[in-house]
Each structure stands twice: as C-alpha cells, then as structure tokens.
C-alpha cells in the first residue's frame, strides 16, 4: 500500500530496544530506515523525537477485536474502535464477524475493510464467519471472502462455537484451499445453556448458573484432534482454563498445527470479582479461578499460548447497567491490553519486552499472515526496511484507569479505579505518527481503492 502523502523522516533518539539496548531509529518513507547508534549522524536535519526511557515495540497486532460496525454503532464504530486501537499501541486489528448483518459474505467484509482504510488509524482485517449468520448450520461464503478485497484468511464464529463436529471438520478442510485458518470459540453449548459465570464453589453460593471449564476443554480436545486428522490449521480464541492449557500443550507436543490466544483480562482478573454482581465483570468465557490465571500466564511465557488477543467488546451503558443475568457479556480492552500485560507478565518477571514484542505483534502477525506487521528480530529489534509500524511505550508511569477518558465509544472497562502501569507515547502506523505524545494526531491516508471490475 502506498500513502498519498509521504511524511518527513523522523529520528527516534535513544529509544530502549526490547533487548534492553538503546538505539536511534530513523523512520523515513514509511519504513524503518535505520536502527543503530549512529543513525543520528546520517540524518542531522531530520525532526528528532527524544525517546529516552521509552520502549520501542513493534506495533501491536490484535487477532480478536469487536468493532461493532455494521449494526451496533452506538457501542463502537470502525472509526472509534481503531482510534482506541492506536491509543493502545495497535497497528493492526482483526474485526470479529458477529456484526449485524454478520460478516459472512464478501460484501460485508469488504465494507468493514473499506471503513478501516478510510479511518486510517491502523490496519483492519475483517474476520469472516465460518457459518451463515453464525448459526452453526451451513458454511458461509468462505471462498468469496478470501477472494474479496479484504483477503480474509481468518474465519471465526466468535461469540458462538462451531459445535457441530462435521461442520467444524469441513470448515478446517475447506480453508486449506486458500491458506486460511479457523479460530474457534470453544464453548460446548449444551453444557453452558444459560451460563452466567465460572462454575465453581462461588457460582453455587451466588446462585448463578455455572459455565464449567469442561465445556471449553472438551471442544479444544475435539478440535485439535480434528485439525490433526484433516491436517489443517486451528486457532483457539480466548483460552481461559488451566485444563485447556494442558490440552494445547499436549497437541503442540504431537505436532498439531494449533495456536492459542489469551485475553488480558484472563491474565489478571478472577471470578472473585463476580461477588459484586457488577455486570462490568461479566464476560465470555467467564473470569476463572486464580489457579487458571497463573496457568495462563505460565503458558503465555513458555509459548504454549502464542498470543494475547484483547477480545475488545464494547457495550453501551444500558446493556451493562442492568441485572447480571441479562447484562451483555464482554469488556473493552484495546486501551488497557499492554498495561495489563506489563502488570501480569513483565512486572512479575515472567516475560521481557522481547517476549511482549513476540506475543503481541510478531506471532499474531505470523498467524494471520500479515507482511507489514510484527517485523522484528528475535530480540524484538525492528527489521530495517520493514514498514514502520511502531509503538513507543513509557513503562515507568502508572495511571488509575478512568473509562471516561478512554477513546473507545464504550465505558465497560473492568479496570476502572485500578492502577495499571505504562502508557502509549507514540504510535507509528505505516510511518505516520498517529498518536503523538499520548494524544491522537492525524490518521494515515491510504491510496484510493481500485474499484473491482
């Protein structure tokens, strides 16, 4: 993609690399032009940004975002959601298919893709539905979505589980034709009918219908075996239990082509919060036990879980300020993802910044097949010549979360009142500084789309 305007080169002086070193990084012509200690000498006349104390990360890539457009524009739009993404340090998001209408045709995915291009705050990759209307009955137009301008490769009925075993098998087989993969929302529906929270001692006391761990684990076990059988590629959305981690570890040891994601909230929050009956803590899959949180952190650190997906799920106030059992499920996450990962993974010593660059950018970019994202060396250093999708992160500040100040249109953040570390200072998207000094700046302007004949 080419920009209609080319920004003047800028020099990021003295940024901290994920490997702990320090370097000057030159961004020119939308690319990382140089990464070294003498970049400054080559470019005396360029604009310089003092990056002392800031960690230079590749722009974050989210495989799991709900942008709500089309259909629920009162909760979020592509424009507001991608602004939030940029503020959170993301340069690429994957918009889940559970919009209204469902993103199950080429027309809808192209609409979302175009809205993303028009917004210009980050790449927007529509996720195609696996089944028509997410109904789990018949395959959606997988090939047409793959061939569309949106070039869909990731397919998911997220929000709903592809629970029919034959349909899941066929989907896994069919997407091989164009190098796609299926991202499964693992939730056995009959075990979770009416489920409100993790099934546990606490659900019994609170009188809320339980969502048992086995309902997730049984589907993951089935699907890794299906993926092995048909030699296809499977991704597991929002893994939430220690048992799921064990199954995925087992599958990877057997060489099964499976990848897995964990949400930030499942890395930090537990079911204990449900005691308040405050629906801001209602999410699917539900918040689990402390043991699960620690198993998920360990799995992310050791690579059993590949990536962090935000499952950013904006909801209007009226769908959250109501009785628990009828409240909407989901939490906003784009603007708090990296603070939570810093708190849960970096400050606990489980992961260094190179690890963060891996799980939040390089690996999800590889899973989704994105050429322009996550281009870093093993130690997290940006690859010279790659498209300049970059994040400059201040890990030293700590802020109390106030959802009213968030850029997303919705306010359903479970971290309200909680102090979290870190802050986006600058986000570079395709060389354009879309967030500057912690404030939204100008979006990138894509070249006009060539009309399909």
């Amino acid at each position: 993609m080419t920009a209609t305007t080319t920004d003047a080169p800028v020099l990021l002086r003295g940024a901290t690399l994920p490997n702990g070193g320090s370097a000057d990084v030159l961004v020119a012509d939308g690319r990382v032009a140089a990464v070294d200690s003498c970049a400054a000498d080559q470019s005396r006349d360029v604009e310089t940004i003092d990056c002392a104390g800031l960690v230079l990360l590749p722009g974050l890539v989210d495989l799991h975002t709900h942008l709500r457009q089309p259909g629920k524009e009162d909760a979020e739009t592509v424009e507001t959601g991608t602004r939030a993404a940029a503020m959170g340090g993301f340069t690429s998001v994957h918009a889940m298919a559970n919009s209204t209408p469902t993103a199950d045709t080429a027309g809808v995915v192209e609409q979302v893709w175009r809205l993303g291009r028009a917004s210009g705050w980050c790449d927007v990759h529509p996720v195609g539905a696996v089944t028509v209307g997410l109904a789990g009955q018949s395959l959606a137009d997988l090939g047409a979505m793959a061939d569309s301008q949106a070039k869909v490769r990731m397919f998911s009925d997220d929000g709903m589980c592809v629970h029919d075993a034959v349909l899941m098998r066929r989907a896994l087989e069919y997407v091989k034709a164009f190098g796609g993969f299926v991202a499964q929302h693992a939730q056995e529906p009959t075990l979770t009918a009416g489920a409100q929270m993790n099934e546990s001692e606490l659900s019994g006391v609170l009188g809320l219908a339980g969502w048992p761990a086995v309902a997730e684990e049984a589907i993951i076990a089935r699907d890794v075996l299906l993926a092995q059988h048909v030699e296809s590629r499977l991704h597991i959305c929002h893994v939430s239990t220690a048992g799921s981690v064990e199954i995925i570890r087992w599958a990877k040891e057997r060489g099964i082509d499976v990848t897995a994601e964990v949400t930030p909230h499942h890395l930090l929050l537990t079911e204990e919060l449900v005691r308040s009956y405050n629906p801001v803590f209602k999410v699917n899959p539900p918040l689990r036990r402390d043991e699960d949180v620690h198993a998920l952190r360990a799995a992310l650190a050791d690579g059993t879980i590949d990536t962090v997906g935000t499952d950013h799920a904006p909801h209007t106030a009226e769908t959250k300020q109501c009785e628990w059992t009828v409240a909407a499920m989901g939490m906003t996450g784009l603007e708090t993802a990296l603070p939570v990962v810093q708190e849960a993974m970096v400050e606990t010593g489980l992961m260094d910044w190179a690890g963060v660059a891996r799980v939040m950018s390089a690996t999800p970019a590889r899973i989704a097949g994105l050429e322009d994202q996550g281009n870093v060396e093993e130690d997290g250093t940006p690859v010279v010549g790659s498209v300049a999708n970059l994040l400059l992160w201040d890990p030293a500040v700590r802020c109390v979360v106030d959802p009213a100040t968030h850029t997303t249109k919705s306010r359903n953040s479970p971290y309200e009142g909680r102090e979290l570390p870190g802050r986006t200072v600058h986000t570079f998207y395709r060389g354009r500084r879309v967030v500057a000094d912690g404030v939204l700046a100008e979006p990138f302007r894509h070249a006009p789309v060539e009309e399909a004949r």
Binding site: E201, S203, V205, G207, S276, E323, W324, T325
Partner: protein, 325 residues
C-alpha cells in the same frame, strides 16, 4: 441494619436481634388491634418482578401493621421485555417517595445490585432473588424452629439460638434460594444442617458450604433430625433432565408416609416431636405425602404466620436504622 440482602453476611448478633424483635411483633399479632405506629408516614414499596402472592401479601401485611403506606408494584418478565430498566423503575419509585423497597426479582444478585448501585437511597429488603437468596424465608424458618425448641424446654425463646438442633433440607438445593439462605442462617444460629438431594440437584462446590451433604434421605433421617425441610420440586426439573421420573424422586427423596412415620417414632435430637417444614406451595404426593402435609407436626401454617412477624421486624429495623450503631 441498612439493608437485608442475604444470610451469608448476616452475623449472629444481627440474626438474633431480628428474631428477638420478631418476638415482640408476634405479641402484637396476637392482640385484637394488630397495629403499631412504628412506620407511620413511611412508604414501603413491594416491587415484585416475579410471581409470588404469598411473600408479597406477607410483606404487605407486615408493613401495614407497622402503619406504613404500602405501594404494590408487580410486573412479570424481564426489564428488557418490559422495556424499562430496573434503574428507571426504582428511580421512579424513589421519586414517589419510597423509604424501603422490598424486591422479588428473577435475577440472582439483583437486590445487592440495587443496594450498591447508588440509584436510590431507600432501604432494600431482598424478598427473593433468582436462585440466590431469600433471607426472610430463612429467618421465619429459624424463628419457627426456635419457638419449637424453646417451647420443648419450657423457656422463653427470646435470646436463644438453635444450638443442638439437627435440620435436614431435602430436594432441589441447586435452584433453591430458600436452601441457600437457610444453610447459612441455621448454621450461624448453631444448628447442625444436613442437605439431602440427588447429586444432579446439588451445586458444584456444595462441599464447602457450612453443612453436611448426603445423597440418601434415609441416612439423613436415621440421624434423628429435629426438623425436615422439604423443598418444592419445580415442574421444569422433571422430565428426565435432573432425575429420571417423579416416581423415582418420591421413592428416594420424598417424605413418604413410611418415612414420615419413622421420623415421628424415632424423635429428634432435642425435640421429642420432630417437625416437617415446607416453604410452600406443597406438591402433595411428590415431595411430601398427605399424612406429613396434614400432620400437627407440620409447621407450614405456623411458618406463614411467623413470616409476618419476621417481616415486621425486618422492616422496623431497616427503617429505624441507626447509622451509629
């Protein structure tokens, strides 16, 4: 006491204070003029978002005997289907001048949400929320048991608790707010509580509750309980979803004529005549036989009368709440 939401967080002293106040209210209920001026000029709203005639009229009688103005607001179905949110409904009630909101709700946790929401200043009394809690039912059950116990010992019940009593709660523990509230309250008051149910009607984690658990009603009865509390079997639990058939349920977990005769003849730990309790309405022939339903040792009607005294006590206490206390 600002609100009454559940019995899990109701301490021994508070529970005893409610029971003792209810004794004073019971004395009023035995007079010819059953009226106290305690809540004159105060407004109590009965907000019933789920069908319940018994509990509503009990609260209504209680509030009226304390001279409160009573407004009954009943609506079936969810706020969503009704088109008005709980927030809007209760703020409307607050604008009318509700000092206390007695709420029956289909959603677990709704009373706590209302109390903690900041939507209204009114005192909140939970009259049953989903499958979570029904604290006034548990209090009236405890009150009934305490009177029986004190009566058998020939002492005044005021100030006493349930130490030494063994109570078996039988049936659908999983979906029962009555069971949940009773397990904690009766335990707090010193009783030995046993729950007896088919495994499918026990919640995950019941082992951590302050009670013992058995799958065998016969084993529980062999331990000579002082009270057997039979829970109502809901029609929607039948049809093979939770147990194979009504007949099998009755055979294993019903208080049949044979079991009732055995209970009666064995005697209890502290009561010579064990009692049969039921929150009502009863399914005769399913969870309870005719003989047990009609026995003088069945406390169902006593429970109803005591319910008014307990609800008078609760309304009196939450509306004369001393924030310094």
């Amino acid at each position: 006491m600002r609100h009454l939401l559940s019995t899990v967080d109701l301490g021994y002293e508070d529970a005893l204070a409610i029971l003792d106040t209810a004794e004073e209210m019971a004395a009023v209920n035995e007079r010819e003029v059953k009226k106290l001026p305690s809540l004159r000029g105060r407004t109590v709203v009965n907000l019933f978002l789920e069908d319940s005639t018994r509990t509503r009229i009990s609260f209504e009688a209680a509030a009226k005997r304390l001279s409160a103005d009573v407004i009954n607001f009943s609506a079936k179905g969810s706020s969503v289907s009704k088109g008005e949110s709980l927030k809007d409904t209760v703020q409307t009630l607050a604008a009318i001048g509700a000092d206390a909101i007695v709420m029956r709700h289909w959603s677990s946790g709704a009373a706590q949400q209302l109390a903690e929401s900041g939507w209204v200043d009114a005192a909140v009394v939970n009259a049953g929320d989903g499958t979570h809690a029904h604290p006034t039912q548990a209090l009236l059950d405890a009150f009934t048991l305490r009177r029986r116990l004190a009566g058998s010992r020939g002492v005044d019940s005021t100030g006493t608790d349930l130490t030494g009593m063994r109570v078996v709660i039988v049936g659908d523990i999983l979906h029962s707010r009555v069971a949940r509230s009773n397990v904690w309250l009766l335990h707090t008051l010193g009783a030995d509580v046993v729950v007896a149910a088919p495994p499918t009607l026990l919640p995950v984690g019941v082992g951590s509750w302050p009670c013992r658990v058995t799958y065998s009603l016969d084993e529980a009865l062999a331990e000579r309980p002082d009270a057997v509390m039979m829970l109502r079997v809901q029609a929607e639990r039948m049809g093979g979803a939770f147990f194979p058939s009504a007949g099998e349920y009755t055979r294993s977990w019903g208080l049949t004529a044979e079991r009732f005769a055995l209970l009666d003849s064995r005697g209890g730990q502290v009561l010579q005549q064990p009692v049969v309790m039921h929150p009502g309405p009863m399914n005769r022939g399913l969870e309870i036989c005719d003989a047990a339903a009609d026995s003088p040792h069945n406390t169902v009607l006593e429970q109803v009368a005591n319910g008014v005294s307990i609800r008078m006590a609760v309304l009196h206490l939450v509306l004369n709440n001393d924030p310094e206390a």
